[in-house]
Symmetry: C2
Subunit: 304 residues, 2 copies
């Protein structure tokens, strides 16, 4: 089945305790589409960049069989830019600068041939834009997944709750789940979020793994214990890309298959953090992915 | 095989966001021996209490088939006392008061009939006392496990490293693993700790589960996501008790069985936090334990 990812394509400037970058490719949709490309070949991208965005990167997307018909290039604007610095624990970061640029006022346009996509990933964006995007579909996609962030809980909670009510699955991190619900217990937070509309919830806990909730069922996927986390930027988006890429490839949204999708997403995220930006997930072999997934099997399996 | 637990038996006074207690039964050895009692009936306890310790609690130990021949009663002293208050996140706490009392200068005496114990659990104590205890065995037990805490890293690091070098398995939490090694990455910290002597290491991450390390092998056991954590006191000791209780019962220290032991330890810890002190783990049925362990199976299992 075909997957459509709608979200930001950006320049990032990243500082970590291990080094810093100049402007490199970033943005939720970049990570999601690249990660998903290892699972599905029907992979479409909707977003916007400015006149400063390198043609070589668009070529990288295309080399990964990502259809870029929906990637607008605004000849009069500059690409969204984020500059951040990670703290020593690599779990928290400060935003040093954000330039919205072409994202300011952007409303995604869905090419006619994407109307029949079955899997839709709404990357982290203004909730009203996520809602407007969803409303552009004549036939609602079979499976709509949404990512968001704490900023929208601070400044646009009502709009966020409105779009959450319309999707099948949401993915947020543990502190966001607590902020969204006012519950410290993630189990209680999950119950509250599932009551808001989505059938499925993923709570990402970074180096502590991820929890998948559906009805009364819970699945926990550990994060692979890594010797080094080099750059956490995009790990959550890469997780989402591996997750929905696997679902789109298999066209199976059973709980058993959602569990597998969480494993694939976690495996992809474990690659992402090994290098700056999208570098690592631009260059993966299927053998590397298989071997990493086997790492999760041996990490988590036991027999009573 | 018989298990011997050496450690503190105490009074605790506990304050959490959910309530507070008067003096209740606590101490590492109390939690360890009670948890282990659900797995092995050859369960011996060495420790010391004062003249204020209730006979009814000694009866509780005995009702759980815990041999209390090694539990000294100092008629001239008072039982070790700890008073602590948990913060709202339940992950951190302040010690408000500690009275060493009979623990001050205590050196464990090992009854002759415990000399042949095969499994020895050294609960958190002064490292020199742990070492002196181990040296009291003519024949070293087959499997020696040690728990410790950050305090000894602050004030007795050399003595701690000396006893760590002598044991088969150590269990510490994530921040202690980082403090002991100076490594932030738990994978690197584990490598360093395994280089100090023990063949096996368990890093407890509280609500984020536990990691088992041996050689190049790693196993991750999640914590059960609970609606409420009522009182975390003793959860780590209860984990250790379930873990080594299972090993003693099966007399099998293969990695596959260590994995099972981690699951049983985690299941026991998940009960411990549901009520204040040892209340919950004094009253468990084997059906409850089986059902809780099955919770871990469904939480962690997936098929590719």
């Amino acid at each position: 089945m075909s997957l459509l990812t709608v979200g930001s394509v950006a320049f990032d400037k990243i500082e970590t305790p291990f080094g810093k970058t100049d402007k490199i490719i970033g943005g939720a949709a970049s990570y999601i589409a690249l990660a998903a490309s290892y699972f599905t070949k029907k992979n479409n991208l909707v977003g916007i960049v400015g006149n400063d965005f390198p043609q070589e990167m668009i070529q990288v997307f295309q080399d990964h069989d990502i259809d870029t018909k929906g990637l607008e290039i605004d000849a009069n604007g500059k690409t969204f830019f984020w500059h951040g610095r990670y703290h020593n624990d690599m779990n928290s970061r400060d935003t040093l600068e954000t330039q919205l640029n072409v994202l300011d006022g952007y409303e995604p346009k869905i090419p006619e041939e994407y109307q029949d996509c079955q899997f839709l990933m709404l990357g982290n964006m203004v909730p009203e834009v996520q809602m407007a995007t969803l409303e552009k579909f004549t036939n609602r996609p079979k499976f709509v997944m949404l990512d968001t962030m704490n900023l929208w809980m601070d400044i646009a909670m009502d709009a966020l709750k409105a779009v959450i009510a319309k999707v099948d699955c949401i993915t947020i991190n543990d502190s966001e789940a607590r902020q969204l619900t006012g519950e410290y217990s993630l189990r209680k937070a999950a119950k509250t979020i599932l009551g808001m509309g989505p059938k499925t919830l993923i709570i990402k806990k970074g180096e502590h793994g991820a929890l998948l909730f559906q009805g009364d069922e819970i699945f926990f996927c550990p994060a692979l214990p890594l010797e080094e986390v080099f750059d956490p930027t995009g790990a959550g988006d890469t997780f989402a890309g591996g997750f929905i890429g696997h679902l789109a490839q298999t066209n199976d949204t059973s709980f058993e298959n959602l569990k597998r999708a969480v494993i694939y997403g976690s495996a992809m995220a474990s690659f992402c953090v090994e290098k700056f930006g999208t570098v690592r997930i631009q260059n993966l072999s299927s053998e590397e992915i298989k071997s990493r997934v086997q790492g999760f099997v041996s990490l988590a399996s036991f027999a009573l």
